[in-house]
Symmetry: C2
Subunit: 223 residues, 2 copies
DNA sequence: ATTCTATTTTTTATCGATATTTTTGTTGAC
DNA sequence: GTCAACAAAAATATCGATAAAAAATAGAAT
C-alpha cells in the first residue's frame, strides 16, 4: 500500500469524523508533521479527496474541508434519493445467485452488530457502520452501472458525516434495523418496487433530525 | 492561473480529443517533457483528472487513460438519462427571470454556431461544442442541487469523447438543432415534462451510432 | 524451445529545498 | 480612529534529485 493511500485514508477519516472541522483550511505544511511525510504526499492525498467531495481546492489558497450545513445535507439526501434508488432497483433486478448469497452474508454480519451495539462505545458504533456499509454496498453491487455505483459511493461517505451523529439515537437504530430486514426480504423476493420504497424511507429517516445533527456537530471542537 | 490548472486542462483536452489513446499509460516522466514542468505537477494534474473519470490510478503502476468502449458509452448514457433529466426538470421548475435571460442568450450563441458550422473544420466544430455545452449548462443551471450538477458535468465531459466523433454526421447536427429549439421553447414555457422528454431523446441520439463511434475511434493513432 | 532466475533499465513514489503568492502585522498620514 | 502603504511572516506551488518498485532483458538450465 502506497504512502499516499495511507495518508488519504487517514485524512478522509479525520474529515468524516470531524477531527478536521468543516471549512477549516488544510495546510499541507502543518498536516505533514502529523503524518511524518513530505508536503507533496499531503497535496496528492488532498487532490484525491476532491473526488470524494470532502475537500475543496481553492486556487492559490490551498485546500479546505467541505462545508457541513443543512443545505449540504439536503443536497446529499436528494441526490441519494435519485441515484441510490435506481442503483438498488437495477441491482435487485440483475443480481444472480452469488449476489444473493453475499447479500445474506452481509445481512447476517450487520444483524449481529445491530444486536450487539453499544451506543456509548465508539468502537462498537464504528463496527456497526462498517457492517452497515457492507450491507448497503452489497445491496447495490449487482447494478451494472459502474458510474452510478461510484456516485452512490461518494454520497454514502458524505452522508456518513451527518449520520454518525444520528447513530447515537436509539430510535434511529431500531428503525434502521427494521428497514434492513425488510430490504433483505424484498431483495430476495426480487421485489424491486418494495426494495426501492424502503430505500427511500431509509434515506429520509435522517432528514428529520437534520437540525439537531447540524447543531450537534457545531459543538465539535474546531481544528 | 496555477501551473497545475493549466496542465490539468491540457491533459484533459488531450484525453478527450483522443491524443492520449484510451487505456494507454500516462507516464509522468515522459509527459513532463511535453509541458516543460516537473513530474510533481503532472502527478497532481492526473490526480485531479480522476475526479472527472478520465484517468484511472493504478496502485504503484501509475496512471492510465480511462477505457473507451461500447459498455462505457452505454454506462454514460444510462447515467445521463437518470441524472440530467432530473437536473433539467428541477432547473426548469426553479429558474428565475435572470436564468431565462441567460438561457435565451446561450441559445442564441448556439444557434449561430449551428448555422455556421463547417463539418470539415476542426475549429468550427470546437466552437460548436463550446456553445453547445454553454447552452446545456445554462439549461440545468437553476437546478438547486450542486451535487447533481457536478455529476452532470462529469458525464457531459466523458460523453463528449464519444460525441465528437458523431459531430461529423450532418444528420445528427440537424436533429440536435431541432432538439435545442424545442428545449428552449419548453423551458421558457416552464413545460418541465416536455423539456425532460426532449432531453431524453437528445441524449439517446448518439446511442444509435455507438458501434460506429467506437470503431471510428479505434482508428485513431495510438501513442 | 520453454521456463526460471539474475541483472539492467525504466518508471513510480517520495523527499527536502526554493521561488512566489497570500496573509498578517506595523507604521504613519489624514 | 480609520485607512493605506509597506514590511515581515506564513503558506502555497513548484522544482530537481533519489530511493523503491516494476518491467524488460539476458543467460542458464531443463
Amino acid at each position: 500500500m502506497t504512502l499516499i493511500e495511507q495518508v488519504y485514508e487517514s485524512i478522509r477519516e479525520a474529515i468524516v469524523l470531524g477531527r478536521y472541522a468543516p471549512e477549516s483550511r488544510l495546510k499541507a505544511q502543518h498536516i505533514k508533521d502529523d503524518y511524518g511525510v513530505s508536503g507533496t504526499i499531503i497535496r496528492e492525498a488532498l487532490n484525491r479527496l476532491i473526488s470524494d467531495g470532502l475537500v475543496i481546492a481553492n486556487d492559490r489558497r490551498g485546500f479546505s474541508v467541505a462545508p457541513f450545513s443543512a443545505e449540504d445535507l439536503a443536497d446529499i439526501i436528494q441526490a441519494r434519493l435519485l441515484i441510490e434508488v435506481d442503483v438498488v432497483r437495477q441491482s435487485v433486478e440483475a443480481g444472480d445467485d452469488d449476489w444473493e448469497m453475499a447479500l445474506v452474508g452481509a445481512y447476517h454480519g450487520l444483524d449481529k452488530q445491530e444486536q450487539a451495539v453499544d451506543i456509548e462505545n465508539e468502537a462498537s458504533l464504528r463496527a456497526l457502520e462498517t457492517a452497515n456499509r457492507a450491507f448497503h454496498d452489497q445491496l447495490g453491487a449487482a447494478c451494472p452501472s459502474a458510474t452510478l455505483r461510484a456516485f452512490y459511493n461518494q454520497l454514502f461517505t458524505r452522508h456518513y458525516r451527518y449520520r454518525r451523529v444520528a447513530l447515537r439515537e436509539q430510535a434511529i437504530l431500531t428503525a434502521a434495523r427494521e428497514d434492513h430486514k425488510t430490504l433483505l426480504d424484498a431483495a430476495l423476493k426480487r421485489d424491486a418496487a418494495r426494495a426501492t420504497e424502503i430505500t427511500r424511507t431509509h434515506i429520509l429517516r435522517t432528514q428529520k433530525f437534520s437540525d439537531r445533527l447540524i447543531s450537534a456537530f457545531a459543538k465539535t471542537p474546531t481544528e
